[in-house]
């Protein structure tokens, strides 16, 4: 026989304004086994918690229901309070009457009615609760960082500096990411390579950091503190141990028609290549689609010229299996495709380029050796038009609804660099708003306008057309309230940025939730910004949302501190809400084993006594240390043999019945 206490929180006016808390407290008194109910202004405060502790002692309560905010906010708080008073923490049920009730209702009568129903459901469930006890699991003191851009590098360095091993998995042949492609960085205009390459070197030289470049995560199993990850190390066709990085193979390679990824396709590279001069590791990779040897079986020049005998055409992909306590997603971004923006003629005119392409054109190691030249005729442009918000803050299908955040600043930078190098070149910027909320950002933008004479025009470009070797840009000037037509030589599109396409499959693999734009979601948008809702998965950099380099580095450090906090623990308290198998009901069909994402279920032949019949049957066994309580097995099991502690089928049906009463 249970003795249940019900506690209704006002949450100030958050709940009390739309829910009659007195009425709820009164209504639940008649529910089965409820012996006490009360309401209080803030149940989570010390006063509220002591009211809980006192009631447990005074009324000899065996379980409590707290009607308050989402269990994600304060379930842990109330479980601790109950435990202090001697209750098993799993004899606490939360009825969410805030997010799922008071916040979404306007009428007090409706809110109150629903709150009563939710409270009844929680009481009905609690009547079937039993005390549960958590086990412990060890923490593997190694972190995996997926993505080797500035975010991944910074997180890895910070975690490694704290003394833990870190592996970085990077899908391209080198670490460095998008930052390595940039020329200068706002608002200080220091050279991106000058500040990034020392960090790349630090990461590769760090004794605690291990780099897997040209590699991808293949599959994952396990859970917080104990992930097992398979990494596919793709075959470079070059033996990294033997290669000296002399570059002779790259020079002698006769196939030079592949587009350089690093230079955004603005120039070609050889089939065997090192993406850029400061690449780490400084080991070439053979692009098998471009290589004559791989395509026709003939050639083999790189092998002949390599004095280190490092070329290995027979090299195969390697699968590396390692265990990690924590995983950091730092998968970064890419600019959206401009192919669908016909009004800007991106696909048709070579002189209409994206900002990242302009970045390469400005760069001394870029396709034009740093001279700003038109891709079509290699002539210096006299007039350059920059178009902001191409695909950002969009209301049409091919764009993104969000602000890409970095474009206002880098466009100001580009215009400024252009005017600095070529004072006789005119720079026009079309903008919707100029957004400069960052340290020294607005000063930077004003310098572009005031000192460098960049023409800012509030309005959007409607059309770009090629005419006599020029680009006729038609746009609107909203302040002057007139149409403007500019005869330009080059148009630079500030393309919106989106998460790297690999993020989605990784999100599914790691059960890290994503928003509608495929950015990873945080455990809490304000209070837990670098953690995924899935325990042990952390977020670093742009994969979580648009941000610039300073923000990325700051967030990377924050993610590292969370990882260090996890890895510093020797053991984690397990979750007692795990699956269990009722052996007399089990069919041995293996459905649960196949569906289990954690590999927690195995089958054994066991002697089963079923109504006097003794026979050996194949039955499911749950490894409680591995089970994460996701419940997939319970819904898959056709005979109902699998059940989840804390969320048993009977408990859930009792809730449903109480709601439908």
């Amino acid at each position: 026989m249970q003795k249940i206490g019900v506690f209704i929180c006002w949450c100030g006016s958050n709940i009390a304004a739309t829910v009659d808390v007195e009425a709820v407290a009164e209504a639940v008194k008649t529910e089965p086994n409820v012996v006490f109910s009360t309401n209080y202004q803030y149940m989570c405060s010390e006063g509220g918690q002591s009211a809980i502790r006192n009631a447990i002692a005074e009324h000899g309560l065996t379980g409590i229901v707290v009607c308050a905010c989402s269990p994600r906010m304060h379930e842990a708080t109330f479980r601790k309070a109950a435990a202090v008073a001697g209750l098993n923490p799993y004899m606490v049920e939360i009825a969410n009457i805030r997010e799922q009730c008071s916040w979404i209702h306007k009428e007090k009568s409706e809110g109150t009615e629903k709150a009563i129903i939710l409270a009844r459901a929680a009481v009905a469930k609690l009547n079937r609760n039993v005390p549960l006890f958590a086990g412990e699991s060890p923490v593997i003191k190694r972190a995996l960082v997926i993505g080797g851009g500035i975010a991944g590098i910074q997180t890895a360095l910070d975690v490694a500096d704290a003394g833990y091993e870190v592996d970085i998995v990077e899908k391209t042949p080198t670490i460095g990411g998008k930052m390595a492609m940039l020329d200068k960085t706002f608002p200080t205009l220091d050279c991106a390579a000058c500040i990034l390459t020392p960090k790349m070197v630090d990461a590769s030289a760090h004794e605690k950091i291990n780099l897997y470049t040209y590699s991808e995560v293949e599959s994952v199993s396990g859970f917080v503190g104990n992930f097992t990850v398979n990494i596919r190390k793709r075959a470079r066709a070059v033996n990294s141990d033997l290669c000296t990085g002399c570059g002779v193979c790259v020079e002698k390679c006769p196939s030079k028609s592949a587009k350089s990824e690093f230079n955004q396709g603005l120039c070609n590279r050889s089939a065997i290549y090192i993406p850029f001069a400061q690449a780490i590791p400084n080991v070439p990779v053979i692009d098998r689609d471009a290589c004559i040897k791989f395509k026709t079986g003939k050639c083999g020049i790189c092998e002949k010229v390599c004095t280190a005998k490092a070329i290995d055409y027979d090299q195969e992909d390697e699968i590396i299996t390692k265990q990690y306590g924590a995983v950091v997603l730092a998968t970064g971004f890419k600019p959206i495709s401009m192919e669908r923006y016909d009004e800007f003629q991106y696909a048709q005119c070579p002189d209409v380029i994206t900002s990242l392409e302009f970045e390469r054109i400005c760069n001394a190691a870029g396709p034009t050796k740093g001279k700003v030249l038109r891709p079509s005729d290699h002539e210096p442009p006299k007039t350059v038009v920059f178009v902001q918000c191409v695909g950002s803050r969009a209301t049409v299908d091919c764009g993104k609804t969000y602000c890409s955040k970095i474009c206002c600043m880098y466009t100001a930078k580009h215009a400024m660099l252009l005017r600095e190098k070529y004072p006789d070149t005119e720079a026009y910027v079309f903008y919707i708003d100029v957004r400069t909320p960052g340290k020294s950002f607005d000063e930077f933008y004003r310098r572009a306008v005031e000192e460098y004479g960049v023409h800012y025009i509030k309005g959007m470009v409607g059309k770009v057309a090629e005419e006599d070797g020029h680009l006729i840009v038609q746009g609107s000037d909203l302040i002057a309230d007139k149409q403007v037509v500019i005869k330009a030589d080059m148009v630079v599109l500030a393309a919106a940025i989106e998460p790297d396409p690999t993020a989605r499959s990784l999100g599914t693999m790691f059960t890290a939730s994503m928003d509608t734009n495929d950015f990873f979601t945080e455990a809490h948008p304000k209070l837990r910004p670098v953690e995924s809702p899935t325990a042990g998965i952390f977020l670093s950099g742009l994969c979580q949302g648009p941000k610039d380099i300073p923000d990325t580095v700051a967030q990377a450090g924050a993610a590292a501190s969370k990882v260090i906090g996890l890895l510093s623990k020797d053991k984690l308290m397990g979750n007692p809400c795990v699956a269990g198998c009722s052996e007399p009901l089990c069919n041995g069909c293996s459905s649960c084993e196949l569906v289990c994402p954690y590999g927690a279920i195995t089958y054994e032949d066991k002697m089963v006594i079923d109504h006097g019949v003794r026979e050996t049957r194949r039955v499911a066994c749950v490894n409680e240390a591995v089970c994460q309580g996701c419940g997939a097995c319970t819904v898959t099991c056709p005979s109902g043999a699998m059940d989840l502690k804390g969320f048993t089928n009977l408990q859930i049906m009792a809730e449903v019945d109480a709601i439908c009463r």
Partner: protein, 327 residues
């Protein structure tokens, strides 16, 4: 069919004699010619009672669950479509393959007694079956029929003449072949209805259910030791109905339970004494699974993953419900 029956009798006799198998699972005559029953034969002499004709539709695969628990080896005759269900039972570890000797038997398509009755054929004493030509000897004289007119629903969309698993075959070189129909045609028709029309259709069909459990008992996938409906912990065991809809839920829940596992053997509809087209529920699931996860035929093989118990990163998102106009 008679040629095949003779092959079956003689091979079963040989295998019993030489001790390769201890028992034979086949069909014997029932009360009427049109209802041969599954039966176990233990001696060579008893095999004279082994029958195989156009009415041997009853699938034997499921009987192996209990039969293969016994000592010794059992010979079983499986028609091509029965081998899918046999494979499925192997996949779920319900049948012991080592205790089984499978003879795949050729099949000309099984007959629907209801269709014969509709054509006015009564009092059948025996059949002469020769491909499409069929002569029924009845109490009221002989009737000549076209086999294609009286095939069972499940045979109209036959999976083909290939046996997916067997130890040896008993087939003829020149089997009769017939044109098959699109098995999803009726499902498509139901999908085209408004929700209200569809609800009315199923209410009409399912309201005839007498809960005899024949569908459950015949289903090769419904092989739980204890069905959830009989599980005292489920809270629904031996419960009287609160309303007339509750009985309908039995079939809807059963369709969910067999989703992704159903081999589309059609036994549920064949054995239903109320002629409820239960296979349509399963085919709706199969059609959707094929659309969402790629073509999948349960029981086509024993190994490999099945779409509903496997995660793939490219799996369909829940939002597909809205994309298809659902709510």
């Amino acid at each position: 069919m008679r040629r095949i029956r003779d092959m079956m009798r003689s091979r079963a006799g040989e295998l019993l004699r030489e001790g390769t198998v201890n028992r034979v699972l086949g069909w014997k005559n029932g009360e009427f010619y049109y209802d041969p029953n599954p039966a176990v034969f233990e001696t060579e002499e008893s095999l004279d009672g082994l029958v195989y004709n156009g009415f041997s539709a009853a699938m034997l695969s499921k009987y192996l669950i209990d039969a293969t628990k016994k000592e010794g080896r059992i010979l079983v005759f499986l028609k091509p479509c029965d081998t899918y269900s046999f494979n499925h039972l192997l996949r779920e570890h319900k049948v012991n393959r080592e205790n089984t000797y499978v003879i795949g038997v050729g099949c000309d398509g099984m007959l629907d007694i209801e269709k014969l009755r509709t054509l006015g054929v009564k009092g059948i004493k025996s059949l002469d079956e020769n491909g499409d030509d069929l002569v029924a000897h009845t109490l009221y004289g002989d009737k000549t029929l076209a086999r294609r007119d009286i095939l069972l629903e499940k045979c109209l969309s036959c999976k083909g003449s290939e046996h997916k698993v067997y130890d040896e075959l008993a087939v003829v070189d020149d089997p009769w072949q017939w044109d098959t129909l699109d098995r999803f045609a009726k499902v498509g028709e139901l999908e085209g209805m408004t929700p209200d029309e569809r609800f009315a259709f199923w209410r009409g069909e399912l309201s005839r259910c007498i809960r005899c459990n024949a569908c459950r008992n015949a289903c090769p996938v419904c092989s739980c030791l204890k069905c959830v409906f009989d599980n005292p912990r489920s809270g629904v065991q031996a419960k009287s109905n609160a309303d007339s809809f509750e009985e309908n839920m039995f079939h809807i829940i059963r369709a969910f339970h067999v989703a992704g596992r159903c081999t589309d053997c059609g036994e549920c509809s064949r054995v239903c004494p109320q002629n409820i087209p239960l296979h349509l529920l399963n085919r709706k699931f199969i059609k959707d699974i094929n659309a969402f996860y790629g073509e999948y035929q349960a029981g086509a093989d024993v190994e490999g993953k099945s779409p509903l118990t496997e995660y793939k990163t490219g799996d369909v998102e829940p939002s597909v419900v809205y994309e298809r106009g659902g709510a």
